[in-house]
Structure formats: structure tokens, C-alpha cells
């Protein structure tokens, strides 16, 4: 009793130093491992595409067959008709090693995130839209706010808005599974054991083309995500994802 009498009364009014983290440690760690792996996959993926910047549909495609579309870039192989008078250096060796290593790490990280997200109800609590929120009205309000690049309110520092939830769900449950599937469908050994993975996609070249499009979708997500972080407040959002601490309305006032 005598101890508590010594404590200045003002201290009790201030919230305790230990506040719940904005993002759990597991979400923060898996977020940054995924970021690191995605950038590695992106750089190495671009390098691999440069060796044959032509895309096809169906089972086969090569320099002698018509392309579905071509990227207007030079290639790192001189047999590819690109229209450029020069050939870029071959970077496929390390790119392929890095691509598959990063893929393994991100798949393990994704599993860890999925399992913990189910166990801690992270998905149902934080990501799946709440009943009342999930309406066309709310959806159009959220879209309008985004188009005006409106800074989110203080309350939103502790939750996700509707479009944000839908975008994250799309990335986690649609784009990542698709990019893994289309990637595996290009592996001659993997499809020898599981031929349906490639047959369902319409062929090996279709799988490659789809892998490219899904990767583009993920890249667009990354760019929009970074822009949104800047709009919402780069420092506060980065701090929340690195240290777990977020601005609380109480601290601000």
C-alpha cells in the first residue's frame, strides 16, 4: 500500500507502455520475408523473360511459331527475332537459382502465415469484410475515398478498409496460389507426376503466359500498395509494420 502511494497520480492516467501491437510479430516477420522474396522473384523473373520475351498459348511455342504477343525489349539470346541489333548478356544461371530458392522460402513463409492466420483468427478478425461493411454502398464509398487519395482517419490506423481487405484477400488466396500453380505447371518433372496441373491450364506455354500475367498483377498490387502506404503516412505505416507500434488517437491528442 505504501508503495502505491509513492507513485505520482498522473502516471495512472497515461496508458501503460505495453500496448497491443498493430501487427502481430508473425505478420510483421512474414510480411518482410515475403517482400524480400517477391523482389528476388521479380528481378530474377524479369531476367529469365529477357532470354525469350515472346509469349504463346497452348502446349508449344518457339521462334518459328507465331507469338501471342511479344515484349518490345531486346533479348539475351541472339536467335530471338526482337528487331534490336544487339543481344543482352545471359543472366539465366543465377536468375534461375535465385528464382527457385526465393520461391521455396516464400512458400514456406506463406504456409506459416496461413496456419497462424487460421489459428489466431487473423483472417476472420482482420481481413474478411465484416457483414455490415460488405455492401455496394460501402464499396463505392471506399472506391471514392481511394480515388480522391483521401488520407485515412485515425481510426483506420487500427483496421483495414473494405478495398484494402479485398485486395489483400485477392493477393493471399487467389494471386499467390495461382502464381505457384502456374509456376509448377512449367516444370517438366513436376507435371510428369501431376499432369493435371498443366493440362487444366491448356498447356505448358499457356502456363508460362498465365504465370507472366499473374506476376504482373502482383507487381501492380505492390506498386499500389506502396503508393497507399505513402498516402496514409509512410512513417507511421512503416513503423507499424516494423516495430508493431501504431499511432493511437490518444497519443496524438
Amino acid at each position: 500500500m505504501s508503495d502505491s502511494a509513492c507513485v505520482p497520480s498522473s502516471v495512472t492516467a497515461v496508458p501503460v507502455a505495453k500496448v497491443a501491437a498493430r501487427h502481430s510479430a508473425l505478420v510483421r516477420v512474414t510480411h518482410w520475408i515475403t517482400t524480400f522474396c517477391f523482389l528476388a522473384l521479380l528481378v530474377s523473373g524479369v531476367e529469365i523473360v529477357i532470354s525469350h520475351p515472346r509469349f504463346y498459348w497452348g502446349e508449344t511455342g518457339n521462334d518459328l511459331t507465331p507469338a501471342l504477343f511479344k515484349l518490345p525489349i531486346p533479348a539475351s539470346r541472339n536467335l530471338v527475332p526482337t528487331g534490336y541489333g544487339y543481344v543482352l548478356p545471359d543472366q539465366n544461371g543465377w536468375s534461375r537459382y535465385l528464382h527457385f530458392q526465393a520461391a521455396w522460402v516464400v512458400v514456406f513463409t506463406g504456409f506459416l502465415y496461413l496456419i497462424s492466420g487460421l489459428l489466431t483468427k487473423h483472417f476472420s478478425k482482420n481481413l474478411f469484410p465484416r457483414g455490415a461493411e460488405f455492401s455496394w454502398r460501402e464499396f463505392s464509398i471506399s472506391i471514392a475515398k481511394h480515388l480522391r487519395f483521401e488520407r485515412p482517419s485515425d481510426g483506420e490506423a487500427w483496421s483495414y478498409n473494405l478495398i484494402q481487405r479485398l485486395a489483400y484477400l485477392l493477393v493471399i488466396f487467389v494471386l499467390f496460389p495461382l502464381v505457384i500453380w502456374t509456376g509448377l505447371a512449367m516444370s517438366p518433372a513436376f507435371v510428369s507426376a501431376f499432369p493435371a496441373t498443366v493440362n487444366l491450364l491448356g498447356g505448358q506455354q499457356s502456363a508460362r503466359t498465365l504465370h507472366f500475367f499473374v506476376s504482373c498483377a502482383l507487381l501492380i498490387f505492390l506498386l499500389v500498395h506502396v503508393v497507399m502506404v505513402c498516402v496514409a503516412g509512410f512513417k507511421s505505416r512503416m513503423r507499424a509494420m516494423i516495430t508493431g507500434r501504431a499511432d493511437s488517437p490518444m497519443e496524438r491528442s
Partner: protein, 257 residues
């Protein structure tokens, strides 16, 4: 009061952490030994990409030991067949080409009961088989062709391989161009010594007169103009010990992906 309890706690933590670390290290060591004895470690497992390579090779070897590469319909054969760029052919090749490849030899040595050397005629005297499979390049392009030849397993059975054999190393007429595969791929029913394509001879641009077709791996494992194969229990004494010329040039030894 608080001081000793903190020490106790940290000591307990230290012991559990130590035990966990020791168990982890032992577990990893045991896993590595088991993986090694089941042939799940690729020769290029060293270096910063060793983890990814080992995971890929080990998982695919476990999943695909006996699986067959997809075969296609005759109507799906790519027309025209795609001849990829080939390096300049050396004088030895040109000499044999001038003689209609009559003197082409494919020799088999190493851990075999009877080392042998086969002419194309001798290879063709084995029952010929064909497969319509895809050749897929690591660059991204692909084509489907009918490959005609003799399964490598028939040749290996005819020379009698030693039980301790684990890999076969095969070389093009250009000695800088060599690869190796494990016994699962060497004995696989679709691994062919191909001398024909789409009903005719194997064109030079596609590796004629003789190419080792490994349809469950990317094109660069299907070495063109093969002249020699060595059966071995270890890849350490070949080149830089990384398994083949590919890892020496920065490419993965295992190309099932």
C-alpha cells in the same frame, strides 16, 4: 529476491535453448545423412543457392522417381521442328559427318561389367522405340517431336552396371559439353539414346546423329552429339565436382524444374 529467480530463469532458458539447438543440429545432421544415402542431395548443393537446389531436387526425386513425362498425339508434333542454335561443330564431328556417321561411336565405360563401344548400326539393332514428348528450354520456348531410339536402360543392362553405380556422366563430341543424371533418370523408360526424329534421321540441328533425350528435365540435359557415357558412384572426380558443365557455367545441375 528477484535477482536469483532471474538467474534461474536464464539458466533454464539457456539449457532449453542449448538442448533445442543440439537436437536441431542432430536432426539436421541425421536428415542430411538420410538424404545423402537416398540420393536426394544434388552435386551443386554448396553455395548460397544450395538450399533451394536441394529442396527442389529432393522433393522432385521423391515425387517423380517413376512418373512418366507427358506424351502427345502425333497431331501435336511441332511443324517445323525447332532446331536451336548449335555451337560451331568441331573437326572431329565434320570428319564423321563426311563419312555419313558410319564411324560414329558411343562408348560406355566406368562401373560396368563389360565396357563397350556401339556404332549407330549396333544401336539400331536394339528394338527401336519412339516417344512423342516435349523439349522444353530453360529460356521458355518448347517444341514437341517424335523421338526414335533405344532406351538408355537397354544399353546399360547390356553392359551390366555395378550395383554401387549412382550417376551416368555423358559427353558430347565437344568435350566441354557434358552432363550427368542420377540412376533414376538413367534407367527411366523415357530416357532415350535418340537417333531418329519424326519418322526420319535425327537432324544435325536437333543433335544428330545421336542425342541423349531426358524428357523429364529441361533441354540442356539432353546433350547433342553424344559419344561417351561413364557410369560412376561419385561426381567428385568429374570437372570441378559440381556434376556437369552446367553448374560450372552457373546453371543448376538438376533441371527438372
Amino acid at each position: 529476491m528477484s535477482e536469483p529467480s532471474r538467474i534461474k530463469l536464464s539458466r533454464r532458458k539457456l539449457i532449453t535453448t542449448g538442448l533445442a539447438a543440439a537436437a536441431g543440429a542432430l536432426g539436421l545432421g541425421a536428415a542430411a545423412r538420410i538424404a545423402q544415402s537416398y540420393g536426394l542431395i544434388p552435386p551443386d548443393h554448396g553455395g548460397i543457392y544450395g538450399l533451394g537446389e536441394t529442396l527442389t531436387y529432393a522433393s522432385q526425386r521423391l515425387l517423380t522417381r517413376h512418373s512418366l513425362a507427358r506424351e502427345f498425339l502425333r497431331s501435336q508434333i511441332s511443324k517445323p521442328p525447332f532446331p536451336n542454335e548449335i555451337p560451331p561443330l568441331n573437326d572431329a564431328y565434320k570428319r564423321l559427318q563426311a563419312g555419313g556417321f558410319a564411324d560414329w561411336r558411343f562408348s560406355v565405360n566406368g562401373m560396368v561389367a563389360q565396357p563397350a563401344s556401339f556404332s549407330l548400326e549396333q544401336l539400331k539393332s536394339f528394338p527401336s522405340q519412339s516417344q512423342i514428348t516435349m523439349l522444353q528450354c530453360e529460356e521458355g520456348w518448347s517444341y514437341i517431336a517424335e523421338w526414335i531410339g533405344v532406351p538408355l536402360s537397354r544399353i546399360l543392362e547390356s553392359v551390366g552396371i555395378h550395383p554401387q553405380a549412382r550417376y551416368v556422366v555423358y559427353t558430347s563430341i565437344d568435350p566441354d559439353w557434358w552432363e550427368s543424371i542420377d540412376m533414376a533418370d538413367a534407367m527411366h523408360p523415357q530416357t532415350f539414346l535418340a537417333y531418329g526424329m519424326n519418322g526420319g534421321e535425327l537432324p544435325v540441328g536437333n543433335g544428330g546423329p545421336l542425342r541423349l533425350r531426358v524428357p523429364r528435365q529441361l533441354g540442356y540435359k539432353s546433350v547433342k552429339f553424344v559419344t561417351q557415357l561413364t557410369v560412376t558412384d561419385s561426381l567428385k572426380k568429374f570437372g570441378k565436382g559440381l556434376g556437369s558443365a552446367s553448374p560450372e557455367g552457373g546453371y543448376a545441375w538438376y533441371a527438372g524444374i
